[in-house]
Symmetry: C2
Subunit: 201 residues, 2 copies
């Protein structure tokens, strides 16, 4: 059985990764979404094991010291990470796995698993991203300034990715990501072979 594909969907905070990811799962139900582990408290309506798994900072640090993470990052004071074991067991069973993670995490994956497919979700314009961040900020002018600066840095990381998809319309963005996954599965460098072809010439 061919191993599954590891797909990383990433991009600046506020670009709409979650919404695109949700629609993508409708287009491609076989895709397994990896549930991240976090130390931030659950938001209203969030269910453990669905959106995130929740843990304490102490336990998270213990897992870091055990090298248990494929990637981890600190975002606005909270830890977020993806456990190696969860991802590896899915891929070994031939399932394609999607990680919806921040830019720091994606760059760690780039180094640790060069065969992963890295997709950068970009806003339709910098203005649109700024509006989105401004609308989302909860802690006043300082918070907004900090988030806008972070967004600039996150945007600059796009060149380390394989693909760029513009989140202009959610359905178009999800369809493009679906096409990228479909195409990657046809790549000969990933082991695509003619059925029943043993190489006899």
């Amino acid at each position: 059985m061919a191993a599954g594909l590891l797909v990383v969907l990433s991009g600046p905070s506020g670009v709409g990764k979650g919404t695109v990811c949700e629609l993508l799962c409708h287009y491609r139900p076989s895709l397994q979404i990896s549930v991240s582990l976090t130390t931030r408290p659950p938001r209203p309506g969030e269910v453990a094991g669905v959106n995130y798994d929740f843990t304490t900072p102490d336990r998270f640090k213990e897992l870091i010291s055990q090298d248990a993470f494929l990637e981890w990052a600190v975002v606005y004071g909270h830890y977020y990470g993806t456990l190696k074991e969860t991802v590896d067991s899915c891929l070994a069973r031939g399932r394609d796995v999607l990680l919806e993670i921040d830019v720091q995490g994606a760059l760690q994956i780039r180094r640790r698993m060069p065969e992963a497919v890295l997709i950068f979700l970009a806003p339709p314009s910098m203005e649109a991203l700024c509006e989105r961040i401004t609308g989302r900020a909860t802690e006043g002018a300082e918070d907004i300034k900090r988030r806008l600066e972070a967004a600039q840095q996150e945007m600059a990381a796009y060149s380390h990715y394989d693909y760029l998809v513009v989140n202009d319309k959610v359905d178009k963005a999800a369809a493009s990501i679906n096409a990228i996954i479909e195409a990657e599965k046809c790549r000969i460098s990933r082991g695509a072979r003619p059925p029943g072809w043993g190489g006899e010439a």
Copy 2:
């Protein structure tokens, strides 16, 4: 304006390139099919400038000596080729161009234009390809034998391509090729950039 993408659809004789190509054009009307030049006589129903452009062997050889071809090949005694000028002018205008050509031609493109996207259309099984070739042959047992041997050699070339698509169902194959084109247009190595992003960090 970004230059267009050169897509090469190729595979063994009898695999069904023409049928897949036709459906693909319905899925992706912006795709420009490149019309090959050939010295073989038109088949019933073929229209010059639509299926092929037709010429004499002398004129074809003259064009070869002028290095006018992006690729050319001799298939069962007839010349087939793609003129550089036709393809280059389309790509420069930002149009994506599809070449539906044989394996010899595709390997020439690999060498001359490494940035081209090479897609190998494979039969669902070797048996299916043999049946197709046997049904198509018009010149008896010797002709069939020659064509089956050629098919084996053509199959062996798949490893030089970027993508492999199995022509199990025509609509599925055309959809996969459409996804490959969509994905390639999102590749950062091909120049995909965040809109309005100047790189300021």
